[in-house]
Amino acid sequence: MGLFFVSPYLIGFTLFMAGPLIASFCFSFTRYDIFNPPKWNALNNFAELAHDRLFLVSIGNTAFYTLFSVPLGMAVAFALALLLNRKLAARPVFRTLFFLPSIVPLVASAVLWVWVFNSQYGYLNWALRPVCDLLSLLPGVDARPPNWLQSPSWAKPALVIMSVWGVGGTMVLYLAALQDVPKTLYEVADLDGASAWQKVRHVTLPMISPILFFTLVMGLIAALQVFTQAYIMTKGGQPGVSTLFYCLYLFQNAFEYFRLGYASAMAWILFVFIAVITVIVFKATGRFVYYEGGGDE
């Protein structure tokens, strides 16, 4: 009877998870253009990847995006949650205001931010221009607002900035966790003469560490798969290849160059990498994560 109930998942798991996982593993050792049957290619796809400049560039770009957007997003979300956890009139209103941007569909926000980042007509540079003019009054300084999406060095930071706009969901999680921290812990800390920073460091952070850990893992996995923003906002990785992210290059190989074997090799490398990074994060943060009740569930 139990098997009857889980049978939809079992079929779905076989068709859309286990089967494809094995198939893409097999594809990764072949040359496959979808129109002709796959041809055995041994380890050549992997050997070629090791010398593929664009592959290496895409790893670098993805690493940049992940290393900045994930910690920055967590820090901003945590700061906002701390702010909202203070005595605040109309807290639900503020919570909604910070949360709203995160529910804007990604494609819609990509279209919006293309305009925001436009170097001539975007409001970001209109706002920055007077600041830069002011800075330029200093001797030897020639400050100009960046070209954002048109500039190889500013396109990735622009996408990071855009990602921070959507931290509302993470903030809501942190705020809920903050409100679950027992007030008595802070009262005891007050009696011991703890400073505000010490209370955050030794009470708040350990108490909400499980949710920090959870958002770190989910954030890393999501950031490593960044695709939609770059596909829409920078026309497939421009300027140059500065926003060619891993999954964008994978997509191009599979569906634009019809190198499905090559793309499958990339897909499996990503899979293994995410598995390894998840284990590393588990191990590295294990001793910092505090589970009430011992965590042996």
Binding site: P20, V107, L173
Partner: protein
């Protein structure tokens, strides 16, 4: 409450700290809200005001950008895209609710060999990047002749989703055992118990699943991009992305189209705030 003479000793700190908190909260929320308001107001602004700085907040709203989108000759076929998206949403929402609830019952309330192992395998699959399965699944759907149909976007939902199954399992486990045992004693089968007792008790949890299945389908970009070729079958997200590619500088129309895609979600949010928060706790990120 501390005695009032204590207050008098440090009046500045007691006054300044809350003021500062509110000032920072107002300033930061303005920064966060600005792009959002920019999107909505630009959709209603006449072209002449679109590129003005500082922005004009008070103006006579115009619907000219929307009129051009509702024009049947527009590259952004709003009504067609909306109908396509809603169709896909309807199938994936009902499919996900039914299938995930059924599977979750099997995991939550029935004992059978291999149950826990399969459950942990399912939890593990939540970490696997979709890109790893994307290519073989595409090959499979192509062999079935499903390219340029809605089938690749809807059929997978009929088999449930690991996140939703996990969530419903947690919820089903909170239903008192006595209730189910009493029904068993009365001679009801497991299917009847699931359908007539568990499902009606689980409407709040099912609503969360429905909401997030809807958001996933509404926001999905990569699957429509891979599987839909003909413009008449585009979803809103795919249509908007293509529209952006063709009319990069027509900011008014672009913002109007983005607003049309965003507003239903915002309205939905104001009606289902509790479910939104529950769903976020489950997935950790936005749908």
């Amino acid at each position: 409450m501390s005695p009032s003479y204590l207050n008098r000793r440090r009046p500045p700190a007691r006054l300044i700290a809350p003021l500062l908190t509110h000032a920072v909260a107002i300033a930061l929320s303005a920064v966060f809200l600005f792009p959002f308001l920019w999107l909505l107001t630009s959709a209603l602004k006449p072209n002449a005001l679109l590129k003005q700085w500082p922005p004009v907040w008070v103006f006579a709203p115009t619907l000219e950008h929307f009129h051009s989108l509702f024009d049947p000759d527009s590259a952004f076929r709003f009504w067609q895209f909306l109908a396509n998206t809603l169709f896909i949403c309807a199938v994936t929402v009902s499919g996900n609710i039914l299938a995930s609830a059924m599977v979750a019952y099997g995991f939550a309330r029935l004992k059978w060999p291999g149950r826990d192992i399969l459950f942990y395998v399912m939890l593990g699959t939540m970490m696997v990047p979709a890109q790893t399965m994307m290519i073989p699944v595409f090959v499979l759907f192509r062999k079935l002749g499903w390219i340029d149909t809605f089938l690749p976007l809807t059929v997978p939902a009929l088999f449930g989703n690991a996140f939703f199954i996990f969530m419903l399992r947690q919820f089903f486990r909170t239903i008192p055992r006595d209730l189910l045992d009493a029904a068993r004693v009365d001679g009801h089968g497991e299917i009847a118990i699931w359908w007539h007792i568990v499902m009606p008790l689980s409407v709040p949890a099912l609503a969360v699943v429905g909401l997030f299945a809807f958001l996933n389908a509404w926001n999905d970009f990569i699957n429509p991009l891979i599987y839909l070729l003909d413009e008449t079958r585009y979803t809103l997200s795919l249509g908007l992305a293509m529209f952006q590619g063709q009319y990069e500088t027509q900011y008014g129309s672009l913002m109007a189209a983005s607003a049309l895609m965003t507003c239903p979600i915002v309205v939905l949010f104001f009606f289902t705030q509790r479910q939104f928060i529950e769903g976020i706790k489950l997935t950790g990120i936005k749908g």
